[in-house]
Amino acid sequence: MLLIEDLQVKLGDREVLRHIDLQIKPGETHILFGPNGSGKTSLLMTIMGYPQYRVTAGKITFKGVDITNLPIHERARLGIGMSYQRPPTVNGLKTRQMVQICAGGRDVDVEGMAATMNFQDFLERDINAGFSGGEIKRSELVQLMAQQPDLLLFDEPESGVDLENISLIGTTISRLLQRDIHPEPGKSQLQRKKERTKMGLIITHTGFILDYVTADKGQVLFNGVLSCSNNPTDIFLCIKEMGYEECVKCQI
């Protein structure tokens, strides 16, 4: 479980997150809505452990461990993984090596995982070097497949992705979060749902991802404050019709 209690975060001198309370139980996926600059990425980066996001108050607990001051790689090893919107290029580091790094010494079928994202041709290229928006997303997902985190943070997974790839990316995220529907011998879909352990927190702007990934809850972040928690589809419709300002008035 991920438990965030009364979290306050500063980036430089600016307070970017205020009094955040959030709980994601095993098997749950939450969608994070919010206008530009509302602090969505800041929340993900704080959970991942980026040191420039300074926690000034509150606490983050993951799997029962207080991770508020844990360095980023220890959080990764504890099972937190992130899909970035604009990750940096690392010159000379091949995508194949990066996927192996994600596997953390486990023997993984890099080729096979890349194949599911039509990404084999990129394995010998430097990671993120000259990748388009959609290619970055596919690369990030291949990395997460190898990393197998228990809590997956997605920063706008559909941005910059063309229509052809959006369903591939959507269904892959759904699979990573154990939310895909497929027959499994001797197991009902209900049983599969009950056994779900993966947790997800997905930032979306457009809501397109909701066509592919089911979610348990939607959260609206506005001016650094979590202002609304509701059914994600309801929230999305409300934002679409009324805008964020109106939507956050119905504080729960």
Partner: protein
């Protein structure tokens, strides 16, 4: 060759254009005897270890030939493949007119006091030649080894890829653990004849009090390809070199790659100059420099003399923990229609990259060394996979020390 001796004597006090001056008289130039070794496996284990680090395979399994010189004496020289020749230069100059014709053909004997001293004190060196049409299956390996403390080693090498041949050379320079101080002066002349292909990979492995002054010039004829890789990741007191290549035939190509690591107390002044003198010639100079306390001057000079040439220079430096990197890229276009470019950057490791890798589970140290390793790896088109592996191995061994 009385002419050469005369010219050399006249230049014996002529300081080099760049680099700190070396007092040659403070080193001994007296010949040191070492017995010829038939089987490299019989060398002392400690020396074998040093040779392996400098890229020498003592089993000779994947090699077409071997040349090893310790101090002033040739301890091994032979070619395993038909069409290839590996001969000590003193012997070659005595026996073969063609060797004499190539000797001091490209490098001027009176260029500076180092070239002059190499002529006056010649302590052998190698001649490696691929006969016309010969294709080397494996690289030829050569090693110039400094063993005796305070020695000065003066060598002269000729590397000749005759018309239509293919030759790969891996050469390592190393010092024995016994040696503290020394001087290495090496003259190298490269001849890449019409449609020939030569790759020359040099791995330097010196010691903290060693001075190094290589002097090399190459020539590439029509359709020829010259790949020149240089790796120096170990401490050295002072290294200064400015290898130069002339592309004289239509479509000739030269590519220089260098990887330099400057440790505290080391001073490296390494350049590369390529003159594009014929149409459709191509040149590329790519350098990667890392310092963790040493001083590195990285020069690159491309001179396009005729239209229709293409040349690119890339020089990237990373300062990890103090030290200086001075990048001096130069381009000279002397005709309409040349295409020349350069790219130079000196900086530090981006924090963003470290954090990205850490979020995939690497510790900060692991992330940093992964980035350094990536920075040092350059793709070298046309290099046989075996040599690529050799370079990777040298970089892996040394990048651990860098951290």
């Amino acid at each position: 060759m009385p002419d050469l001796k005369e010219k050399a004597r006249e230049a014996k006090d002529k300081k080099a254009a760049i680099g700190p001056d070396v007092d040659l008289a403070s080193f001994t130039a007296e010949p040191v005897a070492h017995a010829y070794v038939k089987d490299l496996k019989t060398l002392p284990v400690i020396d074998q270890g040093r040779l392996i680090q400098a890229g020498i395979d003592t089993s000779e399994g994947g090699r077409s030939g071997t040349y090893i010189q310790m101090d002033t004496a040739v301890v091994h020289a032979h070619a395993k493949q038909e069409g290839l020749e590996v001969i000590p230069i003193k012997e070659a100059l005595k026996k073969h007119a063609w060797a004499r014709e190539h000797y001091w053909k490209l490098v001027a004997v009176d260029a500076d006091k180092y070239t002059a001293a190499a002529e006056l004190n010649l302590h052998d060196g190698y001649v490696i030649r691929a006969l016309p049409g010969a294709k080397a299956v494996w690289p030829v390996q050569a090693c110039l080894y400094l063993d005796k403390d305070n020695i000065s080693q003066y060598v002269h090498n000729l590397i000749i890829a005759e018309e239509g041949s293919e030759l790969h050379v891996i050469t390592g320079c190393a010092t024995s653990p016994r040696l503290k101080r020394g001087l290495h002066v090496g003259i190298s002349e490269f001849f890449v004849r019409k449609n020939a292909k030569l790759s020359f990979t040099m791995i330097h492995h010196w010691a903290e009090e060693v001075m190094v002054r290589p002097r090399s010039v190459g020539i590439v004829e029509e359709g020829g390809l010259f790949l020149n890789n240089y790796i120096c990741m170990k401490p050295v007191k002072s290294l200064q070199m400015y290898p130069t290549t002339h592309l004289v035939g239509r479509g000739a190509v030269a590519r220089f790659y260098s990887i330099l690591v400057g440790t505290p107390g080391s001073e490296m002044d390494v350049g590369g100059r390529i003159l594009l003198k014929a149409e459709e010639t191509r040149a590329e100079i790519i350098a990667r420099a890392i310092t963790n306390g040493g001083k590195i001057i990285n020069r690159g000079d491309l001179i396009g003399e005729v239209p229709g040439i293409k040349a690119h220079l890339e020089c990237k430096g990373l300062i990890l923990n103090g030290g200086v990197i001075h990048a001096i890229p130069e381009l000279q276009g002397q005709a309409d229609g040349v295409e020349m470019s350069h790219e130079a950057a000196v900086g530090k490791i981006a924090q963003e990259e470290i954090l990205y890798l850490m979020s995939r589970g690497l510790s900060e140290e692991e992330a940093t060394s992964t980035i350094v390793r990536g920075f040092l790896s350059v793709d070298i088109p046309g290099l046989p996979p075996q040599l690529k592996a050799e370079i990777d191995r040298a970089v892996d061994l040394s990048s651990k020390d860098v951290m």
